[in-house]
Amino acid sequence: MSLRKPFPSQHWLGWFGTGVSALVALWAQWLLLPGLALAGAAVDWAVVWVVCWSYQRSWWSAGLGGLIMGLLWDSVTAPLPSHVPGLVLAGLLTVRLRGYRLLRSDPLAVGLLAFAMAVIQETCMALQFVALGNGNVQEIWAHHQKVSLASGLLASLWTPLAWWLLHTWWKKTDTLG
C-alpha cells in the first residue's frame, strides 16, 4: 500500500557528492589562481553550479537550488545586497531557455546559458546597489559592464567542464531529475 521505498544507498552518495560540489563552488571564489581571473574579474562558481544543476531538472528543483546557493553565498560574503534574486532567476531561466535547443550539443548550450546567467546575476547585484543608494550610479554601471562581460566569458569557458563532471556524477548515482 505504502509508496515509501527504502532510499537506495547510491542516492545518498549522489546527494552527498552534490552537496560537496556546491560547497566547493562556494569556497572556490576565495581562491584567486592564475587562469581563473580575467581583467580583475573571477569566475562566478555559484552561477556555474546553478546552471549545471538546473539544466536537466524541474522548475522546483532549479528554484530551490538557486535559493539555497544564494543564501549560502550571502553567508560567506555579506547579507545585503543579496545574491538570492540573481541565482533564483538564473535557475528558473535555465529551465525556461534550455528547451530552445539553439545548440545541439549540451556542453555548448550550458556554456552559452552560463554566459547569460552570469550577466543576469551581476545585473541583479548592480540594480540592488542602485536601489540601496550605495554609491554613485554611473560608477556602479561602469563597474557592472566590465565585471559582467568578464565573468560571463569566464563562466562560459568553465561551465562545460563543470557540467560534464557533475552530469557524469548524477548519471552514475542515478540522481538526475
Partner: protein, 267 residues
C-alpha cells in the same frame, strides 16, 4: 484539496522534503548569523599549506628606511612628552600582529580577505589592518584562528579622512578598484594632485594619521559634495602579509574639572 495535495507530496517524497527543508533552514540561518567559523573552516583547510611552507613576513629595510624610522621614533617620543605636558590622551598604536592573507574574495562586489590570525592572537573586531604603504582595511569578523577583513576598496567602507597638508576633512568611499572617491565636507576645499590622505581620527574607528592614499585627479567641482579620486598607497592587488593593530584599552577623553576634587597644586 490543498491538504490532500500536501499529503500526497509527503507520501511520495518524504526524505527529499525533509532534506530540502533542513538545507533551506540551515542556509537561511548561516546567512542571518554571518558566522565567523566559515573563516575558521577556511583557515583549517589552508592549514597544511601554511604549515608546510612556513613562510615569514618579509623584512623590508634599507638605509633610508632606517634613517626615517630613527627620526620617527624620536619625534614620537617628543610628541608623547608634549602630549603628557598638555594632559592629552596618547595617540599611539599597539604592537602589530603580522598576519598572512589566506583567502581573497573573488566576488565582484565585495572586497574582503581572510587572514590567518584571530582572537587567539588578540585580534578584535574593528582593529585596523595595515600593509607596507598604509591602511588597507578593518577587521569585521573574528574566529579563533582567522579573521575577515573588509578592505578600504569595498563599497561599504567609509572612512573619515583628511588631507595631511591642509587638514581639510572628508569621507573616503571604496570603489571596488585600486582607488576610492573622497567626498569633502567643504566644497571650497583646495586640493593638489599628490596630496597625502590620512585618517582623521574624528571617529573612534581608526587611530588618527594612518596613511591611506594620495589624490590622483583634479576635483570634480560640479559634483555636490565635491569629489576627488584617491589612489591607495598600499598595493591592494598584491597583498600577502599585513599587520593588524589590536585595539588599545581606550584612553578616557579629556577629563572635565570636577568640583568635588581639590585642584592639584602645581609645583
Amino acid at each position: 484539496m490543498l491538504r490532500e495535495g500536501i499529503r500526497r507530496w509527503w507520501t511520495r517524497y518524504p526524505w527529499q522534503t525533509i532534506l530540502v527543508m533542513t538545507l533551506l533552514a540551515g542556509a537561511f540561518w548561516l546567512r542571518q548569523a554571518q558566522v565567523p567559523w566559515l573563516a575558521e573552516a577556511w583557515y583549517w583547510l589552508n592549514w597544511p599549506v601554511l604549515g608546510l611552507t612556513g613562510s615569514q613576513p618579509p623584512v623590508l629595510t634599507n638605509h633610508r628606511l632606517d634613517e626615517l624610522q630613527g627620526q620617527i621614533s624620536s619625534l614620537q617620543q617628543e610628541n608623547l612628552k608634549l602630549r603628557s605636558l598638555l594632559n592629552l590622551p596618547a595617540a599611539n598604536l599597539s604592537q602589530p600582529v603580522a598576519a598572512e592573507i589566506i583567502g581573497r574574495n573573488g566576488d565582484h562586489w565585495w572586497q574582503q580577505v581572510i587572514i590567518n590570525r584571530g582572537s587567539a592572537d588578540g585580534i578584535e573586531e574593528g582593529s585596523p589592518v595595515l600593509a607596507p604603504g598604509g591602511l588597507i582595511g578593518e577587521i569585521t569578523q573574528v574566529a579563533d584562528h582567522a579573521a575577515r577583513v573588509r578592505l578600504i576598496s569595498d563599497p561599504r567602507s567609509r572612512i573619515g579622512v583628511m588631507i595631511g597638508r591642509t587638514g581639510a576633512m572628508g569621507i573616503l568611499v571604496g570603489q571596488y578598484k585600486n582607488e576610492a572617491a573622497l567626498e569633502f565636507f567643504d566644497s571650497q576645499t583646495q586640493v593638489r594632485i599628490g596630496d597625502l590622505i590620512v585618517t582623521s581620527g574624528l571617529s573612534s574607528r581608526f587611530p588618527p594619521n594612518l596613511v591611506v592614499g594620495k589624490i590622483k585627479s583634479p576635483p570634480d567641482k560640479q559634483a555636490q559634495p565635491m569629489r576627488v579620486k584617491v589612489s591607495f598607497t598600499a598595493p591592494m592587488d598584491g597583498l600577502q602579509w599585513v599587520s593588524v593593530y589590536p585595539k588599545l584599552p581606550t584612553t578616557p577623553p579629556l577629563s572635565e574639572p570636577q568640583a568635588d576634587v581639590p585642584a592639584q597644586t602645581l609645583p
